[in-house]
Structure formats: structure tokens, C-alpha cells
């Protein structure tokens, strides 16, 4: 059945995709895309167009709430109605339910929303593993795999068609033909290995906000690549004037100070790949986040050289994300843009604030390599 609203819906999608009505484009908000492991707090991006009207500016005036706690008790971010207008849900009778998502579902939502292409495994002569998944229904099978609901349904259908169903005395007796069984399907899964290597600039100019952006972005990148590969290795490098390899915890929580020599990290990265991850066997994804303030022009030249001759030929993707910072000059990304053209596994992305993360992930993974 075609709903009346189909046309309105298509029209809306066209606007969102920027096909028509370009002038509305800047009113499109994507909603936030933040995942919190542990607390399983997820928000799903749903594009909304907010037409301008006369409204109050951002009210830091707060609002009224209800519940326990003393003055000073913080509220969880999801609990606060940031507009403070006291309206809970604008749809009539809308009841908020808790979301319970697995990482797999999450990645699927992500893929749908970002319209990411599936990453193709490297080479065709890959090892493949087989796994059985009970995802089908069959008419034959062992009793232990009998699907009660389907069997019942079949029996009910049969009894209704045969006219032997009595609503006042609703006994359903399945016969042999009604029985349905769970059955499996063998799925082949490419056993390809992937390495994700994160590099982050932790020099004095990278503040907490910049790190937060890196954390969120790498979480989503991680999630996406994990769903595409079976065995994913993750390595972390931090650098200021010198580079070192660290564990995940340290990666996200270190605050160093001092200068920035980006080539130190690229050197180390190159070394790790050469020694441990031969490119024939591994899909390699490298992401580097920095505020783009390299110490000297000479070092930047060295970085470009390293990228061109050593790194880029080996990796599936090299993503450079430049986080906006008040201190940095942000020169690095411009140098890369000017000096490395026509190589398509280098992706550059500017991330000015949290809202840009969404677009940046799209930039990085949109090509599906």
C-alpha cells in the first residue's frame, strides 16, 4: 500500500541529500553521534531540518526537573532537555523506551546512516573460514530444533483454513506437516587480518576537547572496521617531539607538552609495519590526528616524503584528521593538500568540533578500501 506521505518523505530525502533546495541545506542538523561503551548510551543521527524562527538563544538558564539529589548533583547528559522548554516529546503519546543495542547492530545503524560501502577484503586468494548460523527455517529437522512459534502458526493456519478452529475452544494440535525446524546456513567469512594504527599528536596544543574528538572518532572507526574483519589488531602511537608506542588507556589519557615533530611518528609507524605486518597479509589502516601545527617546514617535507615513498604504498588507507585548536596554525593539512595529489588512499579531513565527527568518519571510511 502506498501511503500519502511517501511523496513528502521522498521530497525530504532529496533535500537532505542536497539534490534540491540548496538554501535549506544549512538548517540540516544531524543529531549527535556519540557512543559510550559501558553505559551503552547511543544516539542515532536522524537528519532534521530546522526552519529559522524567532526563538530564544541558547539558554544556560537551565530548567526544572524531578528526582533525588542534593544541589550540586550532576545530571546525566542524556537526561537534560537542552532547550529547557519543558516539553517531553512532541509526538502525542510518545513513550521513551530504553535502547539495548549490540555492537553489531550499532555498526549496522552506522553503516545505514553513513551509507558506508562494505570494505572489500584484500586480494582474492584469501583464506576463508566457515561458520554455521541458525538463521533459517526448514520443514525437516530433529525434534530438538523444533521452532515452536512457527509450528504453532502453521497449525493455526491449517486449522482455520480447514474450518476446525473454534475460537471458543482454541485447541491447536499440530500434525507432522505443520512442524517447522530451525536450520542453519553456512556462511563464509573472509579471514583477512586488519591492523588499525592510530597516531595522535599530544603536544601542548592538544587540549581535552581535541582528545575527546579523537576518542569519539576512533571509537566509531574501530567499531566499523571490527565488523568488517575478523581479527583486528589495534596499535597506538603518541608523539610530541618524539614518538612512542603506548596502550589504549595511555593513548586517550596522556597529556604531554612540548613541540611537535610529526615525522617521528611516521617513522615509528613505518617501522612497526615493516617489522610485524607485511602488507601482503594485512589490511592496514592508519589514522593520524593532530592540530596541524608541525614544528618546522623541513619536518613537514620529510613527512610528505615518508608518506609518498613508504607509507602510502603499503596501507589500504591513510586518514589524516586535523582537529581545530586555538593554538595550532593548522598548516600541516594544507601542505599535504598541496604536495600529495592524485593518490587516493590518503584521506584528509578537517574536524572543527564535535558535530564534524560525523562528516569526518564519512570522509575516512566512505571509500571502503
Amino acid at each position: 500500500m502506498i501511503l500519502n506521505i511517501e511523496q513528502d518523505y521522498l521530497r525530504f530525502r532529496q533535500i537532505v541529500r542536497g539534490k534540491i533546495k540548496q538554501d535549506l541545506k544549512r538548517y540540516i542538523s544531524q543529531g549527535e553521534l556519540i557512543g559510550k561503551k559501558g553505559k551503552d548510551f547511543v544516539s542515532i543521527p536522524i537528519p532534521q531540518i530546522e526552519l529559522p524562527d524567532f526563538r530564544f538563544g541558547r539558554r544556560n538558564t537551565g530548567g526544572v526537573g524531578q528526582g533525588e539529589g542534593e544541589p550540586g548533583t550532576p545530571l546525566a547528559p542524556g537526561d537534560v532537555d537542552e532547550n529547557g522548554d519543558g516539553k517531553a516529546g512532541n509526538a502525542p503519546g510518545a513513550h521513551i523506551l530504553e535502547v539495548d543495542l549490540t555492537m553489531e547492530e550499532l555498526a549496522q545503524i552506522l553503516a545505514e546512516e553513513l551509507e558506508l560501502p562494505r570494505i572489500q577484503p584484500k586480494g582474492s586468494a584469501q583464506l576463508k573460514t566457515e561458520r554455521d548460523r541458525y538463521s533459517q527455517i526448514s520443514k525437516v529437522g530433529p525434534e530438538s530444533l523444533r521452532h515452536f512459534k512457527r509450528t504453532y502458526k502453521e497449525a493455526l493456519k491449517r486449522q482455520i483454513t480447514a474450518g476446525t478452529y473454534d475460537p471458543l475452544n482454541p485447541y491447536i494440535v499440530p500434525i507432522h506437516e505443520d512442524k517447522r525446524f530451525l536450520s542453519w546456513k553456512t556462511k563464509q567469512r573472509p579471514e583477512s587480518n586488519a591492523l588499525i594504527l592510530y597516531m595522535m599528536d599530544v603536544s601542548g596544543s592538544m587540549g581535552d576537547e581535541q582528545k575527546e574528538i579523537v576518542r569519539i572518532e576512533s571509537f566509531w572507526i574501530d567499531t566499523w572496521i571490527q565488523t568488517n574483519y575478523h581479527g583486528v589488531m589495534t596499535r597506538y602511537i603518541i608523539h610530541d617531539a618524539v614518538a612512542q608506542e603506548v596502550d589504549r588507556e595511555t593513548f586517550f589519557h596522556t597529556r604531554e607538552s612540548g613541540g611537535t615533530v610529526i615525522s617521528s611518528a611516521y617513522d615509528l609507524c613505518n617501522k612497526i609495519i615493516n617489522e610485524e605486518y607485511p602488507q601482503e597479509l594485512w589490511n592496514i589502516y592508519v589514522f593520524h590526528f593532530s592540530d596541524g601545527d608541525n614544528w618546522s617546514g623541513g619536518d613537514t617535507d620529510r613527512c610528505i616524503h615518508l608518506l609518498k615513498t613508504d607509507l602510502l604504498p603499503k596501507v589500504n588507507l591513510f586518514g589524516y584528521g586535523q582537529v581545530e585548536s586555538t593554538y595550532g596554525s593548522g598548516q600541516f593539512i594544507r601542505e599535504l593538500e598541496n604536495n600529495i595529489t592524485d593518490i587516493d588512499n590518503l584521506v584528509l579531513s578537517r574536524i572543527e568540533n564535535k558535530e564534524d565527527i560525523y562528516q569526518s568518519i564519512k570522509d575516512f571510511l566512505g571509500k571502503g578500501k
Binding site: 513528502d8 536522524i46 532534521q48 524567532f54 538558564t61 544541589p71 548533583t73
Partner: protein, 501 residues
Amino acid sequence: MSIPIQSRRQTLTPELARLNREIEQYARSYGLDFYETIFEVLDFEEMNMVAAYGGFPNRYPHWKFGMEYERLNKSYAYGLHKIYEMVINNDPCYAYLLECNHLVDQKLVMAHVYGHCDFFKNNIWFSKTNRKMMDIMANHATKIRKYIDKYGLERVEGFIDLCLCLDDLIDHHSVFIERRPKRKDHTEEEPAVVKKIAASEYMDEFINPKEFIEQQKQRLEDERLKRRRFPEEPQKDVLLFLIENAPLEAWQRDALWTIREEAYYFAPQAQTKIMNEGWATYWHAKIMTERALNDAEVIDFADHHSGTVAAHPGQINPYRLGFELWKDIEDRWNKGKFGKDYDECDDYVSKREWDIGLGLGREKIFETRRVHNDITFIDAFFTEEFCHEHRFFTYQFNPERGVYEIADRNWKNIKQKLLFSLTNFGQPLIYVADGNFENRGELLLDHRHEGIDLRIDYAKDTLKNLYTVWTRPVHLRTLVEGKGKLLTYDGEKHLERKADG
């Protein structure tokens, strides 16, 4: 009246029809009074469509409905929420049931719906709404479609986009008040006469010299022109002002009128959200627990009811607030916990145990649902005791810690904040101040500043849209950080200058 949703749906299954008769009977036995109520069963896509259309099966074509539809569909698909119930203020009332709901849910929804229907019919703020809105909406849809066929989708949709930016700018109280005499007194003004100082004829020329008299005449004439303002009084119904005075084509005037009519139709629902949802929740709880529930359904009912009235720490849940307030009012009037004696009693224990067996609770809540809207409701019944008992607080953003945190539990502050958020639906107050600003046919709007600045970038964009309608420069007088500002869009660029507030 045709059946609104396409034919495929039959109205109710025999079982649902039986339940409906049962619930309706219960509702009437409690004294609820409603128009005939027609239930229809929809699947979730249809439900989302109708919800996106604001409860109606048919609306004018516009992408904003598609946007809402997508939002609802997605949040349903991801299990974020689902719509249990929907009902529209119409005679007869139409209400929708979700096909896949459990019987106990359907019962709950029916009971809830009868609460709403009673409210629609009896609350004074709904008394001026059009009860044939189902037909009106369909007519609007046909009309706009016709314009689209004639003038093209881009043009009509673009104009509707503009209208929607402005559709908050109506005067919600105007339907109850005569803001201006229907017929103006068009008698001609007496030409101003300059008073002369009495003098005998031969002295007149010296005591009242000719130049002076001319000067005075000129002054009086100037004053008369100044008085001929337009509009004479600041006008809150900006849409009406535009309809009557902007240089629009006939179809545009009509489209704007359509948007305005719909805005007025929906206004009372926003004005009484807390009362209305609270009232319906109160009645579904009452009907279900006292009459309609059977033993097997208790747990499911409790689960869904508690979901409806759940408290979210940083938000006001109108279902919960309304529900608790209605119960509190009933209790207070049953026990006589109001009036001079009660207010002046300062003994905590006897106040708490106060019960003079007045038994007026039921009567009081029916009276209250007739005359109040959310603002007066909160103002009258959000008592200090209620506030403390239900653990309300105000919260504030703490920039040092970067989180929202509980600020205080002071009843006065809480009430003030609540009332403020409800005033004019939490929208700024905008008036048309002058339709002939500086005598150049430009439009001046006034923002009545009440402590919070406007969002300037949006205000500028809105002015730009307004310019398209008015076709002459438009101005907005407001306060920015305590200083008077005049924002202007002159058709090419935005200007800002100082203004006295």
C-alpha cells in the same frame, strides 16, 4: 464524512468493539462527557504517518511531514519509542489504535483516549476550535495541491516554508477577546483649530500674528499624522497583519491563511499539554484499576502505566506532572486541605493529617478541567507541599564542571521557572509595532524582552524570510546583552544599529 484512512482497514475487530463499548460505559459512569469517538486500527507505518501529519490522515504536501515520518519510523525501528495512541479533537473524535498492541494496551489506550475526548469537549480553551477539522484539513490539502498544480511545486512549497517560519507569531488569546472593535468609527476628524487669544479686532493681528498661527497649524497637523499609526496598537497576530496588509497574491494570502488557521487549531493542545495528558492518564489509571483490568493483565498494565509516568531527572514529563497534580487536587478537596484555616495552620503534623471530610475532590477536578490552562493550572495548584513531596528541583549549567547540575529546591524558583517555560509556549513575544516605519512603508517588529536574548542568527534569517513576504525592508527591535538593538534586513544585507529598547 468519509472514512479517513483508506478502505483496507475495517474499523474494529468484534473483540475490540466489545472492549470499546465496555470502556466507554465505564468512562460515562464516572461522568466523563465526550463526543462520539471512532477508533481505527492502524499498523505502525500508518500510525507513524498519521502522527507525522499531526493526527490527520490527510494534510497539504510538505517535506516537513516526511521528515517527521522518517524520525518516527526510525525511532520505532530502533526501538526508541513507539506511539501507543493518538486522538484528534474533532466531532466525532477520531482515535487510533496500534494493530500489534496487546489487548490490555488497547484497553488502556481506549480509557486514555476517553479522558482526552472529555477534555477536548469541555475545556474552555478548546471551545473555539473548529470541531470539523478533519474536513477542514482535507480541504486545505486539496487547496494547496491545486495551487501546486497551477503555480508549481517549487514556488508554493517555498512560500509555505516562509509561512512556517512565522507560524508561531499568532495571538493565542485573540479568539476569546475582541482586540479591536469589529466596526471602526470612520467619522471624519475635525480639522484642528488653533486657539487664538481673545483680542479686539484691531489688536488681533498683533496679539495673534499670522506666522505664529500658521506655525501652530502646522504643528497640530504633524501631531495628527503621528497619531495615525498603523497598526494603532502593537499587534501580536503577525500572521493576520501580514495577511491583511502585505502585498501578496491571492493564492499566497490564502496559503498563509491556511497555515494560520491550523496554527490556531493546534494552539490549545500546546496550551494544555500538562493538564490534558495528566487528565487522560488519571482516567486511564482510574478506569483500568477500578473497573476494566482483569487479574492476568495487572503486571502489563503496571509496566506500561509506570512507563507513561516515569520521571526523567532533567525533564518535566507532562504525563507525570499532570497526573500527580490531578490526584493532589482531588485529595486536597476531599480532605479540605485549602483555604484560610489550612493555610494559617503552622503545625506540620496536623497539616499533614488534615481531613475535614469535605469530599469535594471529584467536583473540583471536573471544574478545574473546564476553566484552566497549563499556566493557570500550575499557578493555582503547584503548591509548596506538592513541590517538596514530588522532589522537584531547578538545574543549571555549571560551566566549570561542564555539566548540568541541580541548582536548588526552592519552591518559588521552581514554580517561576516552570511558569516561564510555559508562557507563550516558551517562545519570545513578538509584536508588529509599525507597518509604516519611518514613513517608508517598512515593517517594524518589537520583541518584548523578558530576560532572555533572541538567537540572533535565526532572527536574521527570519527577517530575511519576512522581507520576502513584506517586500520592503523589515526591522526587529530587541535587546542584545541589555542594549537596545535594531536589526534590519533591507533586501540585500543585514544591518544592526542601536535603538532605545
